[in-house]
Amino acid sequence: MAAHEAHAHHDAHGHHHHEEGFISKYIFSQDHKMIGKQFLMTAVFMGVVAMLLSILFRIQLAWPGEESDFLSFFLGETWAPGGVMKESMYLGLVTIHGTIMVFFLLTGGLSGTFSNLLIPLQIGARDMASGFLNMLSYWMFLISSLIMLASLFIETGPASSGWTIYPPLSALPQAIEGSGLGMTMWLVSMTIFIASSLLGSLNYIVTIFNLRTKGMKMTRLPLTIWAFFITAILGVLSFPVLLSAALLLMMDRLAGTSFYLSDIIVGSEMLENHGGSPLLYQHLFWFLGHPEVYIVLLPALGLTSEIISTNSRKPIFGYRAMIGSILAIGFLSFIVWGHHMFITGMNPFIGSVFVFTTLLIAIPSAVKVFNYITTIWRGSNIYTPAMLFSVGLVSTFITGGVTGIILADSALDIAVHDTYFVVAHFHIVMGMSAVFGMFAGVYHWFPKMYGRMLNTRLGYAHFWVTIVGAYGVFFPMHFVGLAGAPRRYYDYSVYGDFDKPTQDMIMDLNVIITVFAIIAAFGQLIFLFNFFYSIYRGPKAVQNPWRSNTLEWTTPVVHIHGNWPGAIPEVHRWPYDYSKPGAEEDFISQVVPLAEGEEGDH
């Protein structure tokens, strides 16, 4: 009887599947797998743009004032007259690079792709709680991406007050050209982005709470899902605050209010605004901005937990401690935002509270690192490209994380605040880690997304070029920062006026950094080629290529609406039964019932 029902169900789905036209399947799709792929494609495109922008300004930093055909090729006479980048365009590129990388690639791209793909598949649901909201979330993401890109092409240039867009600079078009139309577009784009992110996050939370299959207790969820879950909660609690910050800024710009403006004379124009505080904006911004770091990072950590466990053929060490540290990081991330503001004129006492809370985050982070290392210890490690990127992530998480201790310590932050030391820190701990997590995820779940395999050897080449290139870019930046070089400077030759040896040192390092950046950028071409080639021509995947335990590998290779052809499988065990003593195989899928006398969850 049950079998008959399952069969009928299958038919119904199969039928539905055939009916789907091109538009409902590829464009206005409500299927979470397709939406995940749409997010990925958009994010890959945005990532390429942002990387290209960074190469442009790295060329300026390494060889300031020298003519470059490459610059004039991309920027033309308007923004690079004679092949030399304009000062205002430099700031515009820096701003848009940061914005795209943080929000569009690592928030929308990372969490959007893998939350959509994996949440229903790994918890055993046929789709998201609301397919329609999910579709809206993607479309808003796309629209906001397009607006952000369009702002690169307007006459007054894109927003150029840094990705943090601190007012009054961002509020006053008189102060910098990019604060005109460019900033308006930035704000509109981000407003739509926030709406997209909220729709997505609410959907993820509801889905994880309500649509888990039978037997899928919270303590049997893969760590990926835990990470997406906490990420979504962080997003729901913090993004609205950024929206309020953006709205108030919009009011200051358009309606003549004074939320952030007080006693300003810009150029020779005396503004009436009085009583506002630029610090208010910074508080609102960083109330999002710091959780945002973990919105970017947690999904990457979740993905690698899964990948490291699978490829070391060992259960992830300290499953409950891993969940606990995700929760602790999530909670603490809301009470540390002030460490971005130690020297803004904020009350020093409040600063010392933030020192305390910030340094506390090091504890759950350390727990995660040691748990990863212990998982690798005495494993039977298989180095797929995904596994290599995961090992890379643990390394960057350590390397970038430890310098956070210096920046969190307000007394030391004074000396290195807003220097390249900070740039090095957050690019390694947030940028490299999250990007490595994302690559690991793409290599690992590509067979699930496209039913084909990525080329492994190209994957190896990609990994090695990327880790060498990226460390080569960001590690030397620590020394530029310790020498005192401020970030967002167009040209460090100004050091020549007071300290020639330091100028020489900064210039040397800048050339090294730029060369590595170009190498790393070429490395990404390997990935792009592999990615697009394999979508069409890659070898066909089998159902469970990595011999993994989680539910997504019990679905058929060919995507169907509703994920499982028959009934949704029931879950009997936690997801990390790898190399369990007494078992024949070195993996036991979550759907396999416990054998007699077998001990269950851990």
Binding site: A362, F475, R537
Partner: protein, 424 residues
């Protein structure tokens, strides 16, 4: 044309790589190898590469430290800066140790425990003792870091001593202006509405208020002139221009009302505070005295800037509408520092370290630290209250075109004598 060639080369390159990959795939197919099966040779190769990468990485890190050191900006030139550097070194040693240890464990295990045929992974899902160890040990280390850090932070951000000389650093796109508090060591009050070309720092005195009112009402773009223009039946304006003028007029009328309120509330006894202030021109070098405490008051005219003294390990944002403060005590003169750095052209500097516009990177001010006698000599020159003083004298009384200022009231003088700068 070049663009076309570049494009063609790229396309041909992609096709070439595609053919190579195709060959690789066909050969895998021949050998019946599936993409997800990682051959032992590849696996061991990558494990070895991880170890090699670690060694190369460690070697480059050591090379960078040897070559560039922790202190690319030289020895700290302020009293608290020496403490900061000590704490920075301590923290750096801790994190360098953690960096090497954990990365070595990670890459070492990744190398050692590569899959070996016939060896099963060790079942080790959790161990409470181990987890306790790596929760408690970092917690203890962090406690030490926090306590030392906060002690230093409290000292650095504490109120400046009474003897500290008050100096205002005024920032605008894209330069710095210095104002010293003068003989009474009290900075005069200011209000941004009083800004004009003679009074760029907007100091508040009876006369400057009156001048601001006059200029708001009677200058060529003032209220009277605007009204006259708008009421002149012979003039015809483009509607947009007309709207702008009406708006501007309304704004100026509101501003002038505020100026009148200010005038009514102003206590002329306060003028003296401003009169002895030494107001330099934008970009004039900041002169400091060795071993003298300073309290810097920061102001911004337009957007947020950040006053960053890398050599003194000091930094504070300048925020429009708000005064921020930071104190430090220079401990090495410029000429001593030049010897230490083996660079006869070295200078201290104040840089802007918060993005503030397109010329942000050019916004800096030279800083010179003198020893006591040299400083005294310099101070004598710039601080004369005598109206007939030499041209390099910069007291507000002497540079602001004004009639005879009111004599300072008795109580104010008493305060002034208490807080005479220590160098005098």
């Amino acid at each position: 044309m070049t663009k076309l060639i570049v494009l063609i080369v790229i396309i041909l390159g992609v096709i070439a790589v595609a053919q190579l990959v195709r060959m690789y795939e066909l050969s895998s197919k021949l050998r019946n190898r599936r993409e997800e099966d990682i051959p032992n040779r590849d696996n061991r190769l990558n494990a070895t590469l991880l170890l090699v990468f670690m060694l190369a990485f460690f070697a480059s890190v050591l090379y960078l430290f040897v070559e560039y050191g922790f202190t690319g900006r030289g020895e700290a030139a302020s009293v608290h800066g020496k403490g900061t550097d000590w704490l920075m070194d301590l923290n750096l040693w801790i994190i360098i140790a953690v960096f090497f240890l954990t990365n070595a464990l990670l890459f070492g295990f990744a190398f050692k425990y590569v899959r070996k045929p016939g060896v099963k992974a060790y079942w080790f899902p959790h161990d409470n003792r181990l987890e306790l160890v790596w929760t408690v040990v970092p917690a203890i280390v962090l406690a030490v870091i926090i306590i030392l850090g906060l002690r230093s932070w409290n000292e650095q951000t504490d109120n400046a001593s009474k003897e500290a000389i008050r100096i205002e650093l005024f920032s605008k796109q894209f330069d710095w202006t210095v104002r010293m508090s003068g003989d009474d060591n009290t900075l005069g009050y200011f209000d941004y509405k009083l800004t004009n070309e003679n009074n760029p720092m907007a100091l508040l005195t009876t006369k400057t208020i009156q001048d601001a009112i006059d200029s708001m009402e009677n200058s060529s773009t003032g209220i009277r002139a605007l009204e006259a223009k708008l009421n002149n039946p012979k003039l015809i304006f483009v509607p947009e221009d007309h709207d702008l003028m009406v708006k501007d007029l309304a704004r100026k009328e509101r501003m002038v009302r505020m100026l009148y309120q200010m005038k009514a509330r102003h206590n002329s006894a306060m003028d003296a505070r401003a009169m002895d202030d030494i107001v330099f021109n934008a970009n004039d070098t900041l002169f400091l005295c060795k071993d003298q405490d300073y309290e810097f008051n920061f102001r911004s005219k337009d957007v947020i800037h950040s006053a960053y003294f890398p050599h003194f390990r000091a930094q504070m944002n300048t925020v429009p509408g708000q005064t921020t403060r930071f104190k430090f005590t220079p401990s090495i003169t410029t000429s001593e520092m030049r010897e230490k750095m083996h660079n006869p052209k070295f200078n201290y500097v104040l840089m802007c370290n918060k993005i503030c516009g397109s010329s942000h990177y050019k916004m800096k001010l030279m800083v010179v630290v003198l020893d006591k006698p040299a400083y005294k000599k310099w101070y004598k020159k710039v601080s004369k209250l005598d109206p007939k003083a030499a041209a390099d004298c910069k007291t507000f009384r002497n540079i602001y075109p004004v009639g005879k200022p009111k004599a300072a009231p008795a109580d104010s003088t008493a305060v002034a004598q208490d807080t005479v700068p220590a160098v005098m």
